[in-house]
């Protein structure tokens, strides 16, 4: 479209200004990320040099004041909580997304989406609080003390389910609409449309949705801090109170000194590596997605 605004009067200077501004913004965003990573590495180095990365894995316990820095139980706890939360939230979220895409009428869908958005918008501290006063006592009746890996996973699942449902719904709906006329013209059944066309086609995007949710679950601090129990130990069972990497940083950063402090930065670095790995995977998946469907993007 040819604009009717008098931009021709000084196109050169406006363009230049715009270009400078954009470059500056991009440089700041990229620079902050680089600085952050550099800072994390710099702060982690003392621990990695003096304690050694092996000791972080093999030390018998986490007693930083006595020079014992076992991160492994907390890595296991973090991963365990996140995976269990995913195992609960993924089928639920996908089922909700399918329901919204396939079966819900327009009005029901609008109501549902609004509710999910509301649920997704609840601050995690409130979910954590609810978990602490409502969910933990229920688990405690079964297996004291109640604060546990299970409690954290349940609340986390509640937290990421709406995100998974909403994102998957968007993905599924787009695929369903794209192929609706084609499948109808070929007289494919509703079932075939959804399960043989839409789902296979949407799979890469659904996978990256799942990874996004996993990243969120791994990084969540407040919920886990409030309901997981914060005892540094290997998660022997579902009801074991555990401490995640994120909770560990939040709990101890205030008074940590020297190697202790550095060890906390190492746990931050580990988290960053895991999250970075996840995003790398997502990017790969999305690229694969585009390679598979270049026509979609060109149209």
């Amino acid at each position: 479209m040819i604009s009717s605004s008098p931009s021709t009067s000084s196109p050169w200077s406006i363009d230049l200004l715009l270009r400078c501004w954009q470059r500056l913004a991009a440089a700041v965003a990229g620079g902050v990320l680089l600085l952050l990573v550099a800072y994390l590495i710099a702060e982690s180095l003392p621990a990695l040099m003096r304690i050694g990365p092996l000791a972080l894995l093999t030390d018998p316990s986490w007693h930083p004041l006595e020079g014992s820095f076992a991160l492994l139980p907390m890595v296991m706890a973090s991963v365990g909580i996140a995976l269990l939360a995913m195992a609960l939230a993924l089928p639920l979220g996908l089922a909700i997304a399918l329901f919204l895409t396939v079966y819900a009428g327009r009005r029901l869908r609008a109501i549902y989406v609004a509710m999910l958005e509301l649920l997704a918008g609840i601050p995690s501290v409130i979910l954590g609080f609810w978990g602490l006063v409502a969910l933990v006592p229920v688990i405690a009746r079964w297996q004291a003390p109640g604060t546990s890996l299970l409690a954290a996973a349940l609340v986390l699942a509640l937290m990421i389910t709406p995100t998974i449902a909403l994102l998957s719904h968007l993905v599924l709906r787009q695929a369903a609409q794209t192929h609706a006329l084609t499948t109808a013209a070929l007289a494919l059944s509703h079932y075939a449309h959804i399960f043989r066309v839409v789902l296979p086609v949407a799979m890469p995007a659904l996978a990256s949705t799942a990874l996004l949710a996993l990243g969120r679950a791994l990084g969540e601090t407040m919920v886990v801090l409030m309901v997981a129990g914060n005892v540094v130990q290997f998660p022997a069972s579902l009801t074991t109170p555990v401490r995640s990497l994120t909770a560990n940083i939040a709990l101890e950063m205030a008074y940590a000194r020297q190697e202790h402090r550095s060890a906390l930065f190492v746990s931050g670095l580990v988290l960053l590596l895991v999250a970075g790995g996840l995003y790398f995977l997502i990017a790969r998946l999305q690229r694969g997605d585009k390679e598979q469907a270049p026509v979609e993007s060109a149209a």
Partner: protein, 286 residues
């Protein structure tokens, strides 16, 4: 060119009941029942009438070009013929449409059977972003061809029909999107042919393709003539002149487009009944 359209649809595949229904009643004869009959068809989206009182009779085995200015409802007319119009929000179809004598606007019409019988090719090639093989296989499985060997047989047959077999026989597992635009469109045609339709509705099948790929599709339409009754929406008058047996011209009026003229190609191009037809065909011919 197959000037005399005689073909037995039942012989298209060895075992014509491969995909479930018999085509035997549609063997074309000079004065057999028309493939497609429209009587006083009016199409409206919500309250806006796009087509008014269109009546047409399409003979079996012929290629009918549907011409008209953009937005005059050619695609809408096409979509009524396989009831794809059902999927379009607020679309109402009135009148009478018969496919080989069967009233397809009736509530009792079996949509599955109808859409198998009346295949559709879209303007934009729309293979599923799955493998080439899967694109053909999926509709066949859905329509009850359980025998994998028979599916492979039909796949080879239809891919040969569209001239794609030599190009893809060694990479049937490759994603359909890895094909070129023209190849994708031919794959879509093969996919429609796999269901052994009697009628093919083609909505500007070449307009998104370069001239060479488009020319290949056009040739293909010529080859399919006689075996299928084809309705071809096109903006390309040269194309209409090259491939069509009959030409229908829709013309927009204030209260919805009407059928301005419907005649065999030679007649409509050389001696149009209507002044507008002559102007349109000549003007657009440059």
């Amino acid at each position: 060119m197959h000037a005399n359209p005689v073909a037995d649809p039942a012989a298209r595949f060895t075992g014509s009941n491969a995909t479930g229904h018999s085509c035997a009643q549609s063997v074309p004869a000079a004065d057999a029942a028309p493939a497609l009959t429209l009587r006083d068809v009016t199409v409206a989206y919500h309250d806006r009438v796009v087509l008014r009182d269109v009546s047409l009779q399409l003979a079996v085995g012929r290629v009918t070009a549907l011409l008209g200015p953009s937005g005059c409802g050619k695609s809408s007319l096409l979509q009524c013929c396989n009831r794809l119009s059902d999927l379009i929000d607020g679309c109402r179809v009135q009148g009478n449409i018969r496919v080989f004598g069967e009233d397809i606007l009736a509530a009792a019409c079996d949509l599955r059977r109808l859409r198998k019988r009346v295949g559709m090719i879209f303007q934009k090639a729309n293979p599923f972003p799955l493998s080439i093989r899967r694109n053909i296989e999926l509709p066949l499985i859905e329509h009850g061809v359980r025998d994998a060997q028979q599916r492979d047989h039909i796949m080879e047959k239809v891919l040969r029909d569209v001239g794609l077999w030599q190009e893809v026989r060694d990479r049937l597992q490759a994603p359909a999107q890895s094909l070129s635009g023209g190849q994708q469109q031919r794959l879509c045609i093969a996919r429609a042919l796999a269901l052994a339709p009697d009628i093919l509705l083609m909505d500007e099948p070449c307009s998104a393709l370069d001239p060479i790929a488009g020319g290949r599709i056009e040739e293909l339409i010529g080859e399919l003539r006689g075996r299928y009754s084809i309705v071809l929406v096109t903006h390309n008058l040269f194309q209409a002149r090259r491939v069509a047996d009959d030409v229908a011209l829709l013309w927009p009026m204030p209260d919805g487009s009407r059928l301005l003229e419907f005649a065999p190609r030679e007649t409509i191009f050389s001696a149009p009944q209507h002044e507008l037809t002559g102007l349109y065909l000549r003007g657009a011919m440059g």
